[in-house]
């Protein structure tokens, strides 16, 4: 006579064993899966190459997962920049970093940009940010031109979220 309780106990034993083996193997194999699958983003952040495409940058911008940092001069920044971007020219990094650091925290990516295919400022700023401990820094090459070409949101004037006095204090080249 088949004993259902015995069958159930055996089934639970087999299930437990399969779970343990599955988890163990998954843990040690190089192509193992995370136990819980976070929703997959179509944005692939390049951890090594440190550049990001305009499409991915725009997607991160729209979903508020990235902070944009303009590496151009403060004068150019005042003439127009990515809406909500911060401005840290590499030459003023030491001067501005301490004040702006809290506004760089908590994002999936920090995206630096300047203007022109060969503009070195965004790479320079990215290097400074990495040296300061940020690992999620990506460069949007030729960013300002690409951003405008796609008619993405821009604004003129100083950095938003600061009082005029604060902006004035941070602005070394304004009006010069």
């Amino acid at each position: 006579m088949i004993n259902f309780r015995k069958a159930l106990a055996q089934a639970l034993g087999i299930l437990t064993l399969a779970t343990i083996v599955g988890l163990e193997v998954d843990f040690f194999r190089p192509d193992g899966l995370p136990l819980l699958n976070a929703g997959q983003s179509s944005v692939k952040l390049d951890q090594s190459g440190s550049e990001i495409s305009i499409k991915d940058a725009a997607l991160l911008y729209v979903t508020k997962r990235a902070v944009f940092v303009d590496a151009r001069s403060q004068y150019e920044f005042l003439q127009g920049h990515v809406l909500g971007a911060l401005n840290i020219p590499p030459s003023d990094f030491k001067f501005l970093f301490k004040t702006l650091k809290p506004r760089l925290d908590g994002f999936e990516a920090i995206i630096t940009y300047c203007d022109g295919e060969l503009c070195p400022l965004s790479h320079e700023l990215a290097g400074q940010l990495r040296a300061a401990g940020f690992k999620n820094v990506l460069v949007l090459k030729n960013g300002w031109t690409l951003w405008n070409n796609e008619k993405l949101p821009t604004e003129r004037g100083g950095m938003s979220g600061f009082t005029p006095a604060q902006s004035e204090a941070m602005c070394r080249q304004c009006g010069k």
Binding site: M1, I2, A7, G32, L35
Partner: protein, 161 residues
């Protein structure tokens, strides 16, 4: 005596057939967990966050059940799980057929090279369910036949004990 022998043969034949199905089904999934996770996701039964759990465990469960069927150990538990799994798979296929979700099957391969219509998979998996139910029934009949004469004497001793 003749009937007992026939039942014993049917028992072994069904177990070996099911073992083959389960071991074969597990292999590609064990080799390609990511692809199998995509198959599980394609069924749209589980929320995305839980998709990896069956993708990690199920292939090993199938392999284990296949091996246990083959060697004839822990038969009650094995047959219970085999039936539960096959019936669940079949219900999922039927539900997805009516939802209009044609994800292929992913039963034996994690790629979409099997491109037969869903009805074929429903029919084929239905046959597997019949096999599994048959295996459970034959096993039961075999136990009944063995019990009065020799409680622990025939093959797969743990099952008859």
């Amino acid at each position: 005596m003749q009937a007992v022998r026939k039942i014993a043969i049917a028992d072994v034949a069904l177990r070996v057939a099911l073992a083959g199905i389960f071991i074969y089904a597990s292999w590609d999934k064990i080799l390609h967990p990511k692809d199998f996770a995509a198959v599980v996701r394609g069924y749209r039964i589980l929320p995305d966050i839980l998709v990896n759990i069956p993708a990690i465990i199920l292939p090993w469960l199938e392999l284990m059940l296949g091996v246990l069927l083959l060697i004839g150990r822990l038969r009650e538990g094995t047959l219970l799980l085999v039936n539960a799994l096959l019936i669940t798979f079949w219900i999922i296929l039927v539900v997805n057929y009516f939802r209009g979700i044609d994800v292929g099957c992913g039963c034996f391969s994690t790629t979409r090279e099997e491109s037969s219509p869903m009805l074929w998979y429903i029919f084929r998996d239905g046959l597997f369910v019949v096999l599994a139910l048959g295996a459970a029934r034959v096993h039961r009949a075999r136990l009944r036949g063995a019990a009065p004469t020799n409680a622990g004497g025939s093959a797969g001793g743990d099952a008859e004990a």
